[in-house]
């Protein structure tokens, strides 16, 4: 019954042909009947028509009924097919648990990977910024030498805002820390000084109260604050009457004027409150210090390139007008979205494409369309019987049919992609190993570090500040378990830095002589605490104070740049006096020691030139300047032979001995800082390794599937070969040769691809070349082994084929 239905279906004429043919046949038969009774042909035709009645009506009725019938039949057919296929599939899976397992694993891997990657992409890339028309938002940077995203000086910000025409608004942000003493224990909160335009540029209004206007952004009127939703909920209990309330921020009264909506909690630096920047006239003329973050909104219809061109022109003008401070300084513009998302876009999208292509794996593809072909296959197999082909002299079609070629192509693609991913992860794993062996330049074991912030109003006085810091060191040193303690303005591997331009004595006073170097203000025992070796000269002592010779310790990298072939000890170097005055009357300090290099900006980053000044000699012209440079925050570091994390609360208590209002924050062991400095590369390593291993698994499954099918298709041929005296080993070799062919092609493509794209990974690598031949060779070899393993079982099955049975089934 089923076969008949199917045949009728396959060979059936269309309903039109069916009805027309049937009625025509009937009329013709009647005509012949009447002719046989003696009528003329024409009389017979007329009589037949009369006898028939309304031909058109009959035709239409039949046509309609026939069409309905076909529709019904198709539906019934489809449901029957479906039932049958489900049953067939179920029985096949039940009979071949191995295959079932492989199919399920393949699907699970594909679905899982796609879901995971999509979730990551969605969270990181697709979630839009909570701003109005975010595609028009950009960041502006100063470009200086090889620094692409440099901070902007207030002077340049003011000039850019005044001269640029292609922006709807330009706003400056200066991140800062604030001590919030409102309510319970004091808390350190990240905040920002923003210029008046800031919220207008982002296009976000306040949820309560208002955002800043031009009036707030004036010196003397800046004691207002806008709270983030998070901070408002946390420290002000979500009080709806908070607007108008007075709060103390770092010891200074501020009036709350607004609360931002919850959607605004996603901020670049996690800042939770905003106060007006209110740059003074003096600050607005400052082209020397480059610390501002600038966000801007492009005018409608303006492209990034147009804005970039205009900004570059303005920067060139400013370079002429400010030859000292703006020498070699350009401008750079980047979409805000790109910065927010970072390089995750690139990191995530490449694998996402790979994940999606898994949907084309042979198991999925086969289930859909080829139902009828499959059922008809016995017949077609007879037609191209490999035995007959072979006996006729042909080399037979085992892998020749188009569908088999598709399968081979999928194996090739799987192998190529998996190898590509594995080479990437191999390189990153080698990077991780190399980084593990890198000497950071200090001994991170047993060191606790924590940040402490000095409120500007309480610590304006230089001497008082130094005393407080020395007090903190003394209090920390007597904490049980602590063997050494010190303060430093920037711990290695911490966030940010303070770069300064130094000019060694004897060089001409001009931009070309400047060596960019990182400043660290330290207390005397910093080097012992961190175990940074002093290579030449001496450490700082308690005698390095105000009123005596000003001294500095420089890093080896700085010594090499400043005096390449000479001993640096006793040489003088000018630094740290702001403004043109510092250039005209340089303030020299004597180098008393050369310290070992420290990898302060990440283990994979070569050490930068650094210089150390004792806190007691911190530049104090203008008053407090040095403390402002370091954002009035210092790190306290303490070494212990035991677990440094256990010290946290006692160190916090020691700091409170000095000033109960000073909260300790960002408390971490130096080993934690080391770990997080390699977190990005570890993220990549994990991602690529996972994808690579999944790719390897899928490729192995693919190879196994193709070869197993190949063997089952050529069982007869193999039987003949065996019957003709081939050794089982020969047969196994034949099968494995077949298996390796697409694998080798895939490996070739994978290696070629890896050579082409591994440059993209270059900035993530350390201690290994992007085209490292060792990694590529080892992984390719590994792949060949996996391929051999995957074809092992089918090859063994082939070698055990019983010649007689194989021939009988032919």
């Amino acid at each position: 019954m089923r076969r008949r239905l199917l045949r009728a279906w396959l060979w059936k004429p269309s309903v039109d042909e069916e009805v027309d043919g049937e009625l025509a046949f009937h009329l013709e038969m009647r005509r012949r009947e009447y002719v046989a009774r003696g009528m003329s042909s024409e009389e017979a035709r007329q009589a037949a028509l009369r006898r028939f009645g309304d031909v058109r009506l009959a035709h239409d009725t039949c046509w309609r009924l026939g069409r309905d019938r076909d529709r019904q039949m198709r539906r019934r057919e489809y449901l029957a097919e479906l039932r049958q296929d489900v049953g067939f599939g179920w029985r096949q899976l039940w009979k071949n648990p191995g295959f079932a397992f492989v199919a399920i694993v393949t699907l699970a891997l594909g679905i899982g990977a796609t879901t995971a990657i999509f979730s990551a992409v969605h969270a990181v890339v697709l979630r839009p910024l909570p701003y109005h028309e975010p595609h028009r938002l950009v960041y502006l940077f100063e470009r200086w030498r090889d620094i692409e995203r440099g901070g902007v000086s207030v002077g340049n910000f003011v000039e850019w805002s005044r001269r640029a025409t292609l922006f709807d608004g330009i706003a400056a942000i200066q991140y800062d820390n604030f001590n919030v003493t409102e309510g319970r224990t004091p808390e350190r909160v990240i905040g920002a000084h923003v210029s008046g335009h800031y919220f207008d540029v982002l296009g976000v209004g306040a949820a309560l109260g208002r955002t800043f206007g031009r009036d707030d952004d004036q010196p003397g009127r800046e004691d207002v604050v806008i709270l983030s939703h998070r901070l408002w909920a946390r420290r002000f209990a979500g009080d709806p009457g908070v607007v108008g309330r007075e709060v103390r921020l770092s010891g200074r009264q501020h009036t709350v004027v607004g609360v931002m909506p919850a959607s605004f909690d996603v901020t670049m630096d996690g800042e939770e409150l905003w106060v007006p920047a209110a740059f003074s006239g003096e600050e607005q003329a400052d082209f020397d210090r480059h610390f501002l973050t600038i966000s801007a909104r492009l005018a409608p219809g303006v492209t990034i390139d147009q804005a970039q061109t205009e900004l570059a022109t303005i920067a060139a003008q400013l370079e002429k007008e400010q030859p000292i401070f703006n020498a070699q300084r350009g401008a750079n513009i980047e979409p805000m979205m790109a910065i927010f998302v970072g390089d995750y876009r690139q990191r995530l999208f490449a694998p996402a494409r790979t994940g999606a292509s898994r949907c084309d794996s042979p198991v999925v593809r086969r289930s859909g369309r080829n139902r009828q072909q499959r059922r008809l296959r016995p017949r077609s197999r007879v037609a191209s019987n490999p035995v007959l082909d072979m006996l006729r002299g042909g080399r037979s079609g085992g892998m020749g049919a188009p569908r088999d070629r598709v399968r081979s192509a999928l194996v090739v693609a799987e192998v190529a992609l998996a190898l590509l991913l594995l080479i990437g992860s191999g390189l990153l794993i080698r990077t991780a190993l190399a980084l593990g062996a890198v000497d950071p330049g200090f001994d991170p074991r047993g060191v606790l570090s924590a940040r402490v912030a000095l409120p500007r109003d309480d610590y304006l006085d230089h001497t008082r500040t130094v005393q407080a810091l020395e007090g903190m060191v003394d209090e920390t040193r007597v904490v049980p378990g602590v063997t050494r303690a010190a303060v430093v303005s920037q711990v290695p591997l911490g966030p940010g830095g303070n770069s300064n331009g130094l000019i060694p004595e004897g060089r001409p006073m001009g931009p070309r002589s400047v060596i960019v170097s990182q400043l660290r203000l330290v207390s005397p025992r910093y080097f012992e605490t961190m175990r940074i070796p002093i290579k030449e000269g001496r450490r700082f002592t308690d005698q390095d104070r105000e009123g005596v010779q000003k001294v500095m310790i420089i890093s080896e990298a700085l010594a090499r740049q400043a005096w390449p072939k000479e001993n640096a000890i006793g040489k003088r170097i000018s630094c740290c006096e702001p403004g043109p005055g510092g250039i005209r009357t340089p303030d020299y300090k004597v180098v008393v020691g050369v310290a070992g290099d420290v990898r302060s900006f990440g283990l994979a980053v070569s050490p930068m030139p650094e210089f150390y000044l004792p806190i007691a000699q911190a530049p104090s012209n203008p008053p407090g300047a040095a403390w402002d440079w370091v954002q009035r925050t210092m790190y306290i570091v303490a070494r212990t032979p035991t677990d440094p994390a256990a010290l946290a609360s006692s160190v916090a208590r020691a700091i409170r001995q000095v000033d109960p209002k000073l909260p300790l924050f960002n408390v971490r062991t130096m080993e934690e800082r080391m770990a997080s400095s390699v977190a990005a590369s570890r993220f990549n390593t994990v991602l690529l390794t996972t994808l690579g291993i999944m790719g390897l698994l899928l490729a192995a499954i693919g190879i196994y599937g193709v070869i197993a099918y190949f063997v089952s298709q050529r069982t007869q041929e193999i039987g003949v070969r065996l019957a003709l005296g081939a050794a089982p080993a020969d047969v196994a070799r034949l099968v494995i040769r077949q298996a390796l062919k697409p694998v080798l092609v895939g490996l070739f493509l994978g290696v070629t691809g890896a050579l082409a794209v591994s440059g993209l990974l270059a900035n993530q690598l350390y201690g290994v070349e992007p085209r490292d031949p060792m990694t590529i060779a080892a992984l390719s070899l590994g792949f060949v082994l996996v391929a051999l393993l995957a074809s092992w079982a089918p090859a063994r099955r082939a070698a055990r084929v019983d010649p007689t049975r194989a021939l009988n089934t032919a």
Partner: protein, 110 residues
């Protein structure tokens, strides 16, 4: 020869066709001829009404069609009765018996 009967009772044509097909698969013209011969041409069916009836019964799965070759060597649609068709025929026959018995009792009093 009796006088031709033109109007057929509802369902009767279906029953006649099904009865015809119990002798084996036939094409439409053969069905018409068989009915004419079996009734001695007394039952003049309009040929045109035969085919809608066949298509309707095909849809109800009382008959099914397959394509075969005719006497003239043309591809032709052959109808065959299905088990459902046989059941229908039995039902129609019983109905007919009841109907004639009842109507006869009224019209032809013994």
């Amino acid at each position: 020869m009796e006088k031709p009967v033109n109007a057929l009772l509802h369902g009767t044509l279906d029953a006649l066709i099904l009865k015809t097909l119990t002798g084996g698969p036939r094409h439409g013209y053969a069905i018409a001829r068989w009915i004419e011969e079996a009734t001695g041409d007394a039952l003049q069916i309009e040929d045109g009404s035969l085919y809608p009836s066949l298509y309707r019964m095909e849809q109800k799965a009382w008959v099914e069609a397959e394509w075969g070759e005719s006497e003239l060597g043309r591809r032709v649609k052959l109808y065959r009765i299905t088990p459902a068709g046989r059941a229908r025929l039995r039902h129609e026959t019983r109905q007919w018996q009841t109907f004639t018995k009842v109507v006869s009792r009224v019209l032809l009093p013994a």
